[in-house]
Symmetry: C2
Amino acid sequence: MNLQDYLSEKCRIIDVALAEYLPPEDRFPDVIFRAMRYGVLNGGKRLRPALTLAACEAVGGDPKVALPAACAVELIHAFSLIHDDLPALDNDDFRRGKPTSHKVFGEAIAILAGDSLLALAFETVTKRTEGVPSEVVLEVTRRIASAAGVGGMVAGQVVDMISEGKEIRPETLEFIHRNKTGSLIEASVIAGGMLGGGTPEQIKALALYGQKVGLAFQIADDILDIEGEQEKTGKTIGSDFRKQKATYPSLYGLEKSGELARQAADEAIAALRDFDERADPLRELAHFIVAREA
Amino acid sequence: MNLQDYLSEKCRIIDVALAEYLPPEDRFPDVIFRAMRYGVLNGGKRLRPALTLAACEAVGGDPKVALPAACAVELIHAFSLIHDDLPALDNDDFRRGKPTSHKVFGEAIAILAGDSLLALAFETVTKRTEGVPSEVVLEVTRRIASAAGVGGMVAGQVVDMISEGKEIRPETLEFIHRNKTGSLIEASVIAGGMLGGGTPEQIKALALYGQKVGLAFQIADDILDIEGEQEKTGKTIGSDFRKQKATYPSLYGLEKSGELARQAADEAIAALRDFDERADPLRELAHFIVAREA
């Protein structure tokens, strides 16, 4: 299989769905709809929703049934970026090479656009998912909600924030990454597996895959923050480093961090040992996440 | 029936459930859990969740099955207050006589606490609702999500904000209130009716009741902002007026506003004409909302 073709195809499907699920810009009050669309339709890599669709296929499901959940996960990712970029939080002016939401729309609208995207995520998955038993949709919604809040993403962001400028322990760094990035990636994978009709054993294996891929992704991201060029990441170079953010390279050095990322990717792939070739996109994705340049 | 006794009893049940559903404060990172509990466990009137429980009883349901949804609605209400009070939005320092979240915990934690409460609302209703078919829980979740976001609360807040200091038309004022306050109140009532096993006709009547009660509540709130004493509302007196916020009294005057509130309450009660005495708490609540002093 060719992963680039696979990802391009999924990315196209996801972008079409997101553009459809987001309210149109010409509705009153248009500023909030423009801000929501600006925060989502921005050429993102759509890694999380691609994982949802790939996990659905890995258990033999039709990826169509997982599309609303996949988009829900991306909406939550977009919400978290808008809020994390706010002046009171990371105070970032650029994201993917474009001015951040509060730079374009002001802080108030940026806060409200984030809120709306979070609410829209739950509306989308509960309203648009079809052809799956209600109890499965309910469980998927619950998993996504748990990952988005204080049982996941928010907890990670809080610890990331209160750790700035402090010397931190490896356990703290792991807590940050497992929660801030890992939990939503894990939920993305689990959601796809559940909606695709996976067995409990398959869901368990996919959860482990998600955890390991999430970790690999975060370490690779930390490395890119130092090594990458601004054109590629769209962020100010070394911005984490400048803010004295806790990162893998700052704790372990670049070389060891690269090893840890590859090890996590290998463990992710090992978790899929009982899956057939329909899990190949998930396997390739694990490699890709570590090898990517932006 | 005695409404005060009824409300005290419901309020007690709701407060116990909220305290149980919110994560404990002694968990790491404790600051976010303290902020979440501070924003919710604050002696609020619990009007919305009381409406959910009362609507459940009005259709003959056991209010226990509606308790998680009732709490979800209150969590969303608390989220919206925290975010609305932020410096970038209404910039309020006091709420119910206590310093607002960002005054106590700082802006970053206040933003994240709001986010967490919104996510926790969806986790709570999807995880804790028992004894109701999954498709009903799913529909309730969808209604609540729609009311919380840009199809409701957020849209109202946006228009409220962009209308500050401007002369506004009655249609705009109605849009603000129908969305900012009305939609979540309506969803609270509908959720209770659905979880209690109401028929489609009953849900339709409850929706109309919710719309009218929401309107009555908002007009009464506008009047209290001008007439009330600070000890009663806990807000700075006339703070809406000072910010040149669009209100009913500013558009219609105090006397006419009082009439409009009573009329809305009467219409709410009329919507319940086919309900038996089990809807009496809802009827009494409609009167109470207009007559309350804080």
